[in-house]
Amino acid sequence: MPDFTADVILWKIKRGEKIDRADLRGIQMQKAVLDGASFRRCDFEGANLEGVRLAKANLKNASFREAYLAGADLREANLDNADLEGANLEAAMLAGANLGRANLEGANLSGADLSGARLTHAQLDSANLAGAKLSGAILSHADLVECDLGIAQLDKADLTSANLESANLEEASFVEANLSEADLREVNAKGAKFGGASLHRATLAKGNFTGADLANVDLRGAKLDDAKLDGATLTGAKISGVMASGASFANLRADWADGSPDGNGRNRVTGADVVAATLMGKVTTPVATKRYFGKGDVLRNASLQFDEGASVEIESLFEQCSIALGQGTELVIGAEGTLSGCQITGAGNITIHGKFFERASPGIAGASQLIVTSGGALVGAVEQPEGATRFAFEPGCRLRMKITQKNGKNGRQ
């Protein structure tokens, strides 16, 4: 028999009394309004609390083992270290709740709203989180082994060092989530969306990522051994230091990937086959050929050519020089660098922190990208290639610039 009847509890709550440490096992309080109440260390094992309203309630260390809480309103409730093993929380509202260190082993949270909830170190192994909303939730160090996260939404969630071993992540969304150092071995992540997520140093070994969207993810230092990435998208992913022996990459979609160790995009690996080979260690990630022209050096009347993939930084004074850039070559004119009476041609990416003054018009021709930062200055004409140049100008930059078009298509009146 519970310590109190439902009527007594409601009467006490109405009087503002706390009901801490009470034995309330098996109590029937469906749809009761208990918002903000305190039930610390209470035992609700096997209770029927369907549709109960417990928003902002203090339920710290309480036990809800095998309790029925479907549709319950637990928004911003404090469930720190609560025991919810085997509880039914189907479609429950838990947005903003604190479930830190809570035991949710085998709990049914399908369709529940846990947006922004705190679940650090929570035990969720074998829990059913299918279709749950976990966007912005904090799940760092949480135990999610063998749990069902099918079609769940975890965009921008923090899953740092979480254990998701053998979990079902099919069609789930982890867009911009942080999965650094998380364990995703043997997961089923078919068709899952990880766009822009961090999987830095994560373990994805033996996982099934068939058709998954891994565009722009940070996979640096991740382990993908024996993983299946057939038909996955990896365009823009950071792949330096990935280990993927025995992994399969059939029909991989990857226009390019970033092979630079610090993920700055300066070392592009182009083409799906090359990306796959690089991941499998059959091709060494090419190290960008870096050229540096230091402060104090003066270069006059020179013609320089930098091939595809090269990275060039100029902190010197260049006078009357011609520079030809290969496809994707990075040219950075440092804050101390000045290119006076010079010309740059080719489909490179140019960043100007210093100064550029043209010799003949156009001073810059065919650049894929041109950035002039806040301290940068550019005097001259820029001829865009057929596909147009991607421009960026930071406030504070100084320009006397004419933009032209090679074939005169853009901006025609």
């Binding site: 006397r400 933009i403 853009n410």
Partner: protein, 146 residues
């Protein structure tokens, strides 16, 4: 054309579907969602993605996501959208954000001229890492082709 939403700061709106030809001077910020052709003067100008402004414009601040053609003088400019041929933008400060390689182009520039900030000098200047600035900067002799 005044603020269609009632309260708040008064703004002059040229709504989508509206075409305005002539000279428009306002002491309120101007928001263009339709088309304006002519001279325009105001403390600020916002051109929405559906908006287009063609003519001579003098404003304090300008934010454009629409289509610009003509001569634009402003203190601060934030630019996206399209800049048509034969356009001149003069500003103390210009901001164009970089779009991801695979995204849509932030700005499509036609054949146009940008005059932003003080005239750069080849000499070392104050406020920069590379030197001290002269009080009245010499507009350099270098400006070939612009």
């Amino acid at each position: 054309m005044a603020d269609p939403n009632g309260g708040g700061e008064k703004q002059t709106y040229v709504e989508e579907g509206t075409q305005f030809k002539g000279s428009l001077t306002s002491s309120c910020p101007i928001v263009v969602r339709g088309k304006v052709e002519g001279d325009l003067s105001a403390p600020s100008l916002t051109v929405s993605p559906s908006g287009a402004v063609r003519g001579q414009v003098k404003v304090g601040e300008m934010k454009s996501q629409g289509e610009l053609a003509g001569e634009f003088d402003a203190d601060v400019v934030q630019l996206s959208g399209t800049v048509k041929d034969n356009t001149v933008i003069r500003a103390k400060s210009l901001e164009v954000k970089l779009q991801p390689a695979e995204g849509r182009m932030q700005v499509i520039f036609g054949e146009c001229a940008l005059e932003v900030g003080d005239m750069p000098s080849k000499e070392k200047e104050p406020g920069t890492k590379s030197g001290k600035k002269k009080k009245d900067e010499e507009p350099g002799t270098e400006n070939p082709g612009v």
